[in-house]
Symmetry: C2
C-alpha cells in the first residue's frame, strides 16, 4: 500500500473520476450534470473543470439550451489536449489511428507488411510521420500472447518468444501493448455489446478461438499475462492433436481451421480464411456439405460456451470475427447447444449470446482504451496537472 492519500490526491482522484466520466459517456454532458453525476457541488465542479481546462484536458463549449435555466457548457475533449495513438498489428497489415478523449477514432495510416519484425520499424516510422506534441501514449494491439508483458509469441508468424524490447527498438513513445483478442473484448466491454455488464466474455473466432473474461470493464490478464486461451480447453471431445501441443482443443472444432479441415484441406494460416468464407457462402446457398460443416462449427461453439458459462457465469457473451457469421447463420443451433450444456438449474437464465458491435475495430478500439487508461491513471495525470499551462502537453 504505497500510495498515500493526501488532500492533493483527493483532488486528483476527483479529476480522474470526472475525466473517466467524460471518456466513458456515450454522449457529452454539461458541467452541472457532471456535478450531479459525481455527487459534488457546482462550485467544486467549476474548480475541477477549470484546472482541467488549464491543463488542456477538457474544453467547455456552449450547450444548446434545453428548457429554462441559465445556459451551461458541454464538457468535451480539449482541442489541443493529449491524444492516444492506437496500433492494430495484424497478420499482414497494420493500422495506426489517433484517439481523443471520449474515444473518437481518426485513422492516420495503414499498410501491409512482410511478417518479419521489420514491421515494427515501419510502424514506428508511421508514428513519427504523425507525431505531435499531443501524443501522450501509444496502445498497441498484436495477435498472440505477450508473456509477462514483454515476451511476444505469434505462432502464425513463426515468432517464438520474441523479446518485445528487441523488436520494438528505441524511440517509441510511452507504449502499452496487449493481445488483440483481449483488446477486442475490452472494446466490447467498454464501448460495445458488453457495455455495463459486470461479468462477461468475448470470443474472437478467426482461425481458432481467442477470448477474454471481462470483469467490471476490465479484461482478466492472468498471472503471466497469458490468460484467455479458452480455445485450448478440451470442451468438445475432439481427439485430434492441436498445433498448440495439446489434444482435443475446442479450437479444433470451431473457427476457420475447423471449417477447412472438414473439406480435407490442411488447416493452417495460409489461405484458410478465404476458404472458410467461401464455405460459409456455400452454406448460405444450400450446399449440403458446407451446411454440415457450418452446423458442426456452430454446435461446437454452443457446447463450449455452455461449458464456460457453467464455470464463469457471464451475463453476456459477445462474438467477433467468424462468430458474427455464426450467430447470423446459426443462432438457434448455438443457443440450443449452449443450453444443453448448461447445468439444469442455470437454464432459465442463460447468458445472452450477442454479436459484437465494435466489429473489426475491436483491437484498435481496445488498444486506445488501454492507452487512455494509462493517460488517466492518477500518477500520470498528477504530472500533467502540475505544470498546468506552462509547457505544452504531451510526453516530456
Amino acid at each position: 500500500m504505497p500510495q498515500s492519500m493526501t488532500s492533493a490526491d483527493l483532488r486528483i482522484r476527483n479529476q480522474v473520476r470526472l475525466l473517466r466520466a467524460v471518456h466513458d459517456a456515450a454522449e457529452p454532458f454539461t458541467r452541472a450534470e457532471a456535478a450531479r453525476l459525481l455527487g459534488i457541488g457546482r462550485n467544486t465542479a467549476a474548480a475541477l473543470v477549470g484546472e482541467l481546462e488549464q491543463a488542456r484536458l477538457l474544453h467547455e463549449v456552449p450547450a444548446e439550451s434545453s428548457g429554462r435555466g441559465r445556459p451551461t457548457t458541454l464538457l468535451v475533449p480539449h482541442p489541443d489536449g493529449p491524444l492516444a495513438f492506437a496500433v492494430d498489428f495484424r497478420e499482414d497489415t497494420w493500422t495506426l489511428a489517433s484517439v481523443a478523449l471520449g474515444g473518437a477514432i481518426t485513422e492516420l495510416e495503414s499498410g501491409e507488411h512482410d511478417r518479419t519484425p521489420a514491421v515494427f520499424t515501419q510502424i514506428r516510422a508511421a508514428v513519427a510521420r504523425h507525431e505531435t506534441p499531443r501524443l501522450a501514449m501509444l496502445g498497441f494491439a498484436t495477435s498472440g500472447p505477450i508473456r509477462d508483458g514483454h515476451r511476444l509469441h505469434i505462432s502464425h508468424l513463426g515468432w517464438d518468444e520474441v523479446e518485445l524490447d528487441s523488436v520494438l527498438g528505441e524511440g517509441w513513445p510511452p507504449t502499452v501493448i496487449d493481445n488483440d483478442a483481449r483488446l477486442a473484448g475490452l472494446a466490447e466491454s467498454r464501448r460495445g455489446a458488453l457495455r455495463g455488464k459486470g461479468t462477461a466474455m468475448h470470443f474472437h473466432i478467426d482461425f481458432d478461438i481467442g477470448g477474454t473474461l471481462l470483469l467490471a470493464g476490465d479484461a482478466q490478464r492472468g498471472g503471466h499475462n497469458i490468460a484467455g486461451e479458452f480455445g485450448h480447453m478440451p470442451l468438445t471431445g475432439s481427439t485430434l492433436e492441436c498445433m498448440c501441443g495439446v489434444r482435443g482443443c475446442w479450437s479444433l472444432d470451431v473457427g476457420a481451421n475447423a471449417l477447412v479441415r472438414r473439406f480435407g484441406k490442411q488447416p493452417g494460416y495460409g489461405t484458410g480464411r478465404e476458404l472458410a468464407r467461401e464455405i460459409l457462402h456455400r452454406a448460405e446457398n444450400g450446399d449440403r456439405e458446407a451446411m454440415e460443416a457450418l452446423d458442426a462449427n456452430a454446435a461446437s461453439l454452443g457446447k463450449g460456451l455452455g461449458a464456460l458459462a457453467n464455470a464463469l457465469d457471464p451475463e453476456a457473451i459477445s462474438l467477433s470475427g467468424l462468430g458474427i457469421d455464426l450467430i447470423r447463420l446459426r443462432r438457434n443451433l448455438i443457443e440450443e447447444r449452449c443450453l444443453e450444456n448448461l447445468m439444469a438449474f442455470r437454464r432459465d437464465e442463460p447468458p445472452q449470446i450477442v454479436p459484437g458491435t465494435v466489429g473489426a475495430a475491436g483491437p484498435l478500439t481496445g488498444a486506445a482504451e488501454i492507452a487512455w487508461d494509462a493517460i488517466l491513471a492518477p500518477a500520470g495525470l498528477k504530472e500533467r496537472l502540475q505544470g498546468r499551462g506552462s509547457q505544452p502537453p504531451g510526453r516530456p
Copy 2:
C-alpha cells in the same frame, strides 16, 4: 459513481487502509511501522489510531523494545471491539465461531442437523446464545450456489431454489452469505496457500469439484453469483450423464463419486465419502483396483487443471478436501497430466499445484473474511466512527 470524495471520506479511506493492514498482516505491527506502511506521517498515524481506539476498533499495547529508540506500541484488535461471527453450514453439521479483527477464530458451538431448513432456526438459536453487543456481522458459508445472492440451491439436501429469506427467517444479525467452495478459496487467497497471488484458483474436491477463481484476493462471483462450477465442464472426455443435467462433466472423473463409481457403487451423497476414504486407504496399502481408481482420479484432475490453466493462467492452484490426499498420494501424476495438457509454450512456467493450508477451516475462515469485509467497508465504518465513544459498538 455515486460515492463522493470529501475530506471526511479521505479520513475514512485512510482508516480503512490501516484497519485492513492490521487485519491482513501475518504479524502485528507497531504504530510507526504502520505509518511507514501506509506512507503517512507519524502524526497522522497517531491521529488515525487515536480515533480508531476511541471507536473500539484498535487497541495499543506496549511493544517489547527492539534496539534503540523510544518504545512504541503494537496495534492489536480492541478487546471490546466488534466481532464477526462465522457459520460453516455443512451437509449434516454446522459450526459457529467468533472471529476478531486479524482473523483469530474462537469456535463457539457446533451441532448436527436433520437436513431440513429447520437447521437455520437451530443455528440462529446458537447465535442468540452467544450474542453480544460486539457482534457486528455474520458470515455464513453454505454448500450449493446462491443465485443472485438470495436463492439457495443445495442438491444433496434436496433444496431446490429455496428462498433465503424464507429459511433464514427473522431476527438474524446483519448477514452475508456465500458458497463454501468459494469461501474456502477466499480463505486460501487471504490467509493460506494462495496468499499474495494476483491470479489463482482453488478447488475443493469432495463428492465432486467446486472451485473459484481468485483475483487479487477476491473471489470471482459471476453475473448471477453462481460462478465456480468448474466441475461441470467437459474436460476429461467422459460420456456419462451428470446429476447436474449435462453429459461429460469433469466431476464425473474426479472426487469421491468418481472413486466410488469405479467400484460399481452408486455415486451419490450417502455413505460415499467414507467409501472414498476407504478406497484411498486401500490404494495406499497397495490394493491394485483401488490404486487404479486413484490413478484415474489424479490423472483426470491433472488434465482438467491443465485445461483451466490454459484459459485462466493462474500463478498457483490450491486444493482442499480429497485434493489434499490426491496431492499427497499422486502429486507426480497430477503434475504430469497437467503439464501434458498445457499449451506447449506454457510448460516452462506451469501453475504451482499446492495443498491448501487453511484446511477444513476454509469455509469458516472465508465466511469470517466476507463478514470482516462488510464491517471494514467505508460506509459501515463511517457510521461506527461517527458515534465514537458514546454508544457501545456493535450493530444498532
